[in-house]
């Protein structure tokens, strides 16, 4: 198992390196730079452009800039300063904003797992009944209705109509409730749908029939035999979804004025804020790759058959 994990981490580092390299050259190939008129609304005189580029090393050949970036990253673990928010360190921005995004994302994932899985299981065991149909309507709504509509609706209902929850801002637990719910809406639907299908396919298996024939109690049957098998596809989904929920919260963060990373992720590409783009890409790719490793480990726990590496040891 240890060897397996080390091997995976080795691959992960290689993948991250490739991602950094690709992102670096791609972001620099996009037309415009941090001081072009799409950001400033005006043209700067040549001297000013020259001074800005010299100061931030943008006047050097791209390959030299790449080398400088890697050197700073590997030796100091420093992504550099933002080119738009003059003097703001990318590391510090991540340190300040990532926990905020993580709180919203984490709460959303918990809601998704609880409600989504519960809904999927109930619907799966009650196939064709009214409860199943209600669940399917929820699934379709959750997948089709964009998150900003859900968010505005939540704001209107809980904020304006009943006036019980704050509709924007950041500070206490209260402020996190609405954005977490809005963010989890899609995940509830997705987990619900997959869980239902998964339960349905497992229920038809021979071993379930055998277990039933052996007289296993219903609760035991559901927990030990059905769920244990039905959860595997959900674990597969979980990894990429974890990533999606952290990176994909731009809209929710904007609507609820949550000071998270989503804004930087989207704006930095539009503004050609090279250092910010690279810093965030590295953060997200590392998170993504490690969530995949996590999924692999989880597999082993959930399903002993997948512990392929046992033989390796």
């Amino acid at each position: 198992m240890c060897r397996f994990i080390f091997k995976r981490i080795g691959y992960a580092l290689l993948t991250t390196f490739i991602i950094i390299t690709l992102t670096f050259f791609l972001i620099h190939s996009i037309p415009g730079d941090p001081i072009s008129p799409q950001n400033l609304g005006k043209y700067l005189p040549e001297d000013a452009v020259k001074a800005f580029k010299e100061k931030h090393g943008l006047d050097k050949p791209l390959i030299v800039q790449y080398g400088m970036f890697l050197k700073r990253l590997i030796l100091e673990g420093d992504f550099g300063d933002s080119l738009i928010y003059i003097g703001r360190s990318v590391n510090k921005t991540i340190k300040e904003c990532a926990p905020t995004s993580a709180i919203i994302g984490g709460q959303a994932i918990i809601i998704e797992l609880i409600l989504g899985l519960l809904m999927g299981i109930v619907a799966g065991f009650n196939r064709g009944k009214w409860i199943d149909q209600v669940a399917m309507v929820v699934v379709i709504l959750g997948i089709c209705v964009p998150s900003f509509v859900v968010a505005s609706l939540l704001q209107y209902i809980f904020g304006v109509k009943f006036n019980i929850l704050p509709i924007y801002g950041w500070g206490g637990f209260k402020e996190t409730i609405l954005p977490s719910i809005a963010l989890s809406f899609f995940g509830i639907a997705m987990f619900g749908k997959y869980m239902r299908n998964s339960v349905l396919s497992v229920v038809g298996e021979d071993y379930i029939l055998t277990a039933k024939a052996k007289g296993v109690s219903k609760t035991n049957l559901i927990i030990k035999h059905v769920l244990r098998n039905a959860i595997i596809p959900i674990v597969t989904l979980f990894g990429p979804h974890l990533m999606f929920i952290f990176a994909g919260s731009f809209v929710i963060e904007r609507i609820f004025a949550v000071p998270g990373l989503g804004k930087y992720y989207v704006d930095s590409v539009a503004n050609s804020d090279y250092t910010m783009v690279l810093g965030l890409t590295i953060l997200y790719s590392v998170l993504f790759i490690f969530s995949l490793i996590l999924v692999d480990i989880l597999y082993g726990i959930v399903d002993p058959r997948i512990r392929i590496t046992k033989g390796d040891r």
Binding site: P31, G87, Q155, V160
Partner: protein, 588 residues
């Protein structure tokens, strides 16, 4: 008998009067909250003047709420370093903290007037090339005196190529040797700004600058403490604890992307007139969340972009509504090297071929102002409104009025060029500035208007802004839309753009007109306001009416809904806000 009748009459009249007074009185309590009322009119009046209602206080003779605070909406500033920021969200956050040599106040008749700030008084030589400012005895929020050296340091830091400021160009060509120092061709000592002593600042200009006083309140011309800026180095301006202020407020807290919390500066020189004790700028980027926060009373004012919201707040009680033109023009640009657009008649035809009111209504929900000329209506020249001073020639309107049939004009132009006179055969492409909702809607509007009024089928090239500017710089465009927001209150901020070649902003469009260049350069150093106005008038005539270099399609506005308990809250054309004198009265 007679006496008795008179007495009875007096009695009746007195009774009637008393009941009348009582009648008056019964309407009062709701507004004044006074429990006991007397029948005596004079006494009643006196008590109203002297008793201060509960929850209120009286400062400088003004009755206001006991608790004075404001909650406003502003975006996350890129930096609070005045020498290294370049966009208005940053300037807005800096305005409460820093005060320049002068400040702007709104007079009762709505004129924006320059009043002394850090400088108590100032003088200039006859040629208008040397200004001397005498500073008042003001102190920074940490108790140290504001010195002329703080201004000298700020400007030299701004211009220093090592600072790489995005606004370093601002004083180039204005302050002596600024261009040279900014380009690395001379030392800081040769720049024409220096402290004579702690309280005297001298500014030598590169040429007579008739509008120089208009620059003295611009936030970029704020003082900066060398010891503070050097202490924090490159990261200066990114945290609340970096800021030492000389303005009406100090920064208490800055939670990035969330809020800025200001408190009244106890060391501000004019603190008697600062009534707000605490102020919060919350970052609320989403339109509808902002409006709901305003409806819930969580914020005191908000900018409006959508027509529905505007109508809602205008129809509701409890709000004031400000709509004011800004120094902001948007225009479509033609490529003067293009096969078609080198002809002025064709440019004119495309400029007049659509209805600006309709565009404003369809695309901007009526929230902007259709232009009638190039320089915005609110721009001043000296002490007078520029457009009024030159007699409102409305060159754009004149162009439209004189050419009722744009299609005929277009065909005439095509014939002059020896092209096929059938407009349907023209190949024209229109490049948007961005691929969002508004640029798309605008492109479609132009497409339909040009089809209907000119018979031309234009091709739309909907691209992101960075791609658009890239192509624009390379001259790969026919029609492109862009705009300009002025930096200071003088026509030159709008006219200097169009100087030919590298002197101006748009060498890409390939327009050269020597008369225009000469007029604008001369007007930039002429001290007689009447002569200047004449020169700009003629230059504007060339730009819009004769050569039709670009086609203005809108003037930007500021639209703000404000709770009506907020008093003295104004929107200014250039300065971001003046918080001196603002107070609330009647907040529930």
């Amino acid at each position: 008998m007679q006496k008795r009748r008179i007495l009875t009459l007096i009695l009746v009249v007195t009774l009637m009067l008393t009941s009348l007074l009582a009648g008056c009185k019964s309407n009062e309590p709701a507004t004044t909250n006074q429990p006991e009322q007397t029948n005596n009119a004079t006494e009643n009046k006196e008590s109203k003047d002297n008793t201060i209602p509960k929850g209120m206080k009286k400062v400088n003779g003004i009755l206001m709420d006991e608790e004075q605070y404001l909650r406003l909406v502003e975006f996350e500033p890129e930096s609070l370093d005045t020498t290294r920021s370049s966009i208005s969200s940053a300037w807005r956050a800096q305005t409460p903290l820093f005060e320049g040599l002068t400040r702007v106040e709104m007079t009762e008749d709505g004129v924006e007037k320059i009043v002394p700030g850090m400088a108590e008084r100032w003088e200039h030589n006859e040629e208008g090339t040397e200004y001397t400012f005498y500073l008042r005895d003001a102190v920074w929020s940490d108790g140290k005196p504001v010195r002329a050296q703080d201004f000298e340091y700020a400007i030299k830091r701004l211009l220093d190529p090592k600072t790489a400021s995005k606004y370093g160009w601002f004083f180039c060509g204005i302050i002596k040797n600024a261009t040279e120092f900014n380009g690395g061709k001379c030392s800081a000592d040769e720049v024409g700004i220096y402290a004579v002593d702690d309280k005297t600042l001298k500014v030598e200009l590169a040429k007579p600058v008739p509008y120089f006083m208009q620059l003295t309140y611009f936030i970029v011309f704020s003082p900066l403490r060398q010891d503070i800026a050097e202490k924090y180095g490159d990261s200066y301006g990114q945290e609340a604890e970096h800021i030492v202020a000389n303005g009406p407020f100090i920064l208490k807290e800055w939670v990035h992307d969330n809020k800025l919390v200001y408190e009244k500066n106890p060391n501000y020189w004019d603190k008697e007139h600062v009534y707000i004790d605490k102020m919060e700028f919350v970052n609320l980027p989403d339109d509808s969340a902002r409006m709901q926060a305003l409806l819930r009373g969580e914020i005191d004012a908000a900018a409006l972009f959508k027509r529905e919201w505007k109508e809602k707040f205008q129809s509701m009680d409890g709000y004031q509504f400000i709509m004011k033109p800004l120094a902001w023009t948007e225009y479509i640009m033609f490529n003067h090297k293009d096969r078609y657009f080198k002809n002025d008649k064709i440019r004119k035809a495309f400029t007049i071929a659509y209805d600006r009111d309709e565009l404003n209504d369809l695309v901007f929900g009526g929230g902007r102002i259709p232009p009638t000329s190039f320089v915005p209506d609110n721009i001043m020249l000296g002490d007078e409104n520029y457009q009024n001073k030159i007699g409102n020639p409305k060159y754009l309107k004149k162009l439209v009025d004189e050419n009722p049939d744009p299609k005929a004009l277009l065909i005439e132009g095509l014939k002059e060029l020896g092209e096929d006179p059938d407009p349907a055969k023209m190949e024209i492409s229109y490049m948007t500035n961005g691929n969002g909702d508004i640029p798309r809607k605008m492109a479609e509007f132009f497409q339909q208007s040009f089809k209907k009024n000119l018979g031309v089928d234009i091709k739309l090239e909907i691209v992101a802004s960075n791609v658009a500017y890239d192509k624009f710089d390379g001259g790969e465009f026919q029609i492109f839309e862009t705009g300009w927001i002025g930096d200071y209150n003088d026509p030159s901020t709008f006219m200097d753009l169009w100087k030919s070649g590298k002197q101006g902003n748009y060498p890409q469009i390939g327009w050269v007109n020597e008369e225009f260049d000469k007029l604008v350069i001369e007007a930039g150093k002429e001290l007689d306001p009447n002569k200047r106005a004449e020169m700009y008038k003629r230059a504007e005539e060339i730009l819009i009416y004769e050569d039709c270099v670009c086609g203005p399609y809108l003037m930007g506005t500021v639209n703000t809904a404000i709770k009506d308990y907020v008093n003295n809250y104004h929107e200014f054309s250039f300065v971001k806000r003046n918080y001196v004198g603002v107070y609330t009265k009647g907040r529930k």
